[in-house]
Symmetry: C2
Subunit: 247 residues, 2 copies
DNA sequence: CGAGCTTTTGAACGCAGTCAACAATTGTGG
DNA sequence: CCACAATTGTTGACTGCGTTCAAAAGCTCG
């Protein structure tokens, strides 16, 4: 429960601070928020659709998915989350979960009781605004995914998704030399871009053949960022990563 | 600028109050928010992607769309909004618009300066929470649309969209006897569910033949709500319309 | 080293897109 | 109120992107 430099709280502070700088008082308030750290295996549900959670889940390590199923059992993944994200932050104000959240890879997560989140939000409106903003960025990503799934073809769609991973993982320091770990199966990629796994496989082969990506195990290498961006019609605007006020 | 019983402010108050009851002080604070009412023609942009608006837009009458274009000019509509909604509420905390908003039908809108929104949010944290919640419901709808576009076939998709319209328009009192006005072209429906307008036309004919819907001009009649819901795999949970605390 | 995933490949099929023309409806100006 | 323009809706024929099914090949890990 001590909030040291590598604590969950520090991760949260770094992220919020990168949006708009926090005062020392605000930092301290965040350091005082209790976080219960837990390690989870791959493919485990964190919360399920229909649940009424009393806590939310700060992702510390690994990758999680937000997903839903159709009545026929088809899965659509609506979002991936990377360390520093809070995949179910919405539950703070929406009583019933309208989606499930599960781990993709083995994950470390920190659970934060809603009451503690609410208290820090009440006392520090700027922190509340920062969390609000986080949920707005999530929504922006949903919009971009809608464009992706609804109006782009599979090759572009997959390229776009890989671009997003590169940018978001880079933002949390998980990319080195245009290479990053992507512990995601082709079935999961398919469920994210709304195609079959067979087609993902074929598209990936085409992308490899075109020199857009290389794979080594779960490592993904992007030899030519500009070309991948172009192939994915990728404009990072929707991720809202620039500091407020920057032009 | 007087906030009478049919004023924009009253519309806003009714909606927020239906989520969780407001105190008289909070109501008064909302009544004091200046709103600039404007009438717009059909197919007019309200804000464009890339803009940095200093106000947001309360929809008073008509239907608006949130949309984006691919580089090839294909349009994806991410959301429709009905009276009482604030289609660009996100702009309060995201400086740059990552989508455009346009009217579908002729609309009456009320513009509210961000500064006024921020002031009322700062002084009344519960109002801030209510607005935050509005944006979370928007996000929930994006998620459902992702499932719809990504994993359902065209017939189900369209049925689902029509279900959503019925429920949302009913919630603002715009449905009578399972009949409502839907001034939306087939091209726009197609851009919302990610298909071609030709296919929307054929699917609509099938739905009429199956007795799921009838059309009279822009009026849509739903003779059998249960069957339409079933056809659209529609569960209204994601709209989060029930009052907080209700089970 | 074998069990269980994950990836890859091939073949047949089908949902939906595209293109193009035509019909119906709505809107507008004389 | 009518004539014409513009938009919206409808239909048919052809095409193709991506699915489905099934089987084989590669990996990973106890």
């Amino acid at each position: 429960m001590i909030a040291g430099p590598h604590s969950p709280q520090a991760l949260m502070i770094r992220k919020l601070d990168s949006i708009f700088p926090l005062s020392e008082e605000e930092r301290q308030a965040l350091r005082d928020v209790p976080v219960q750290v837990t390690v989870l295996k791959a493919d485990q549900d964190v919360v399920r659709i229909g649940d009424r959670p009393s806590q939310c889940c700060l992702l510390l390590e690994g990758i999680t998915q937000v997903y839903k199923l159709t009545t026929e059992g088809k899965r659509q993944i609506m979002a991936f989350h990377v360390p520093g994200d809070i995949p179910d932050l919405q539950s703070l104000h929406l009583e019933v979960m309208d989606n499930s959240v599960a781990t993709i890879s083995p994950c470390t997560v920190g659970f934060i009781q809603h009451e503690h989140m609410r208290r820090v939000c009440e006392r520090h409106p700027r922190i509340a605004a920062a969390f609000w903003r986080e949920t707005l960025v999530d929504a922006s990503i949903f919009r971009e995914w809608l464009l992706n799934v609804g109006r782009r073809e599979a090759y572009t769609r997959l390229a776009h998704l890989l671009c997003e991973f590169l940018v978001r993982l880079k933002a949390v320091g998980l990319v080195e030399d245009d290479t990053f770990d992507l512990p995601i199966t082709q079935v999961e990629l398919a469920d994210a871009i709304g195609t079959s796994n067979v087609h993902v496989n074929r598209v990936l082969q085409a992308m490899r053949a075109n020199g857009l990506v290389q794979t080594r195990g779960t490592q993904l290498i992007v030899p030519d960022w500009e070309r991948l961006k172009e192939a994915g019609e990728f404009d990072p605007l929707y991720l809202h990563l620039e500091r407020e006020g920057d032009a």
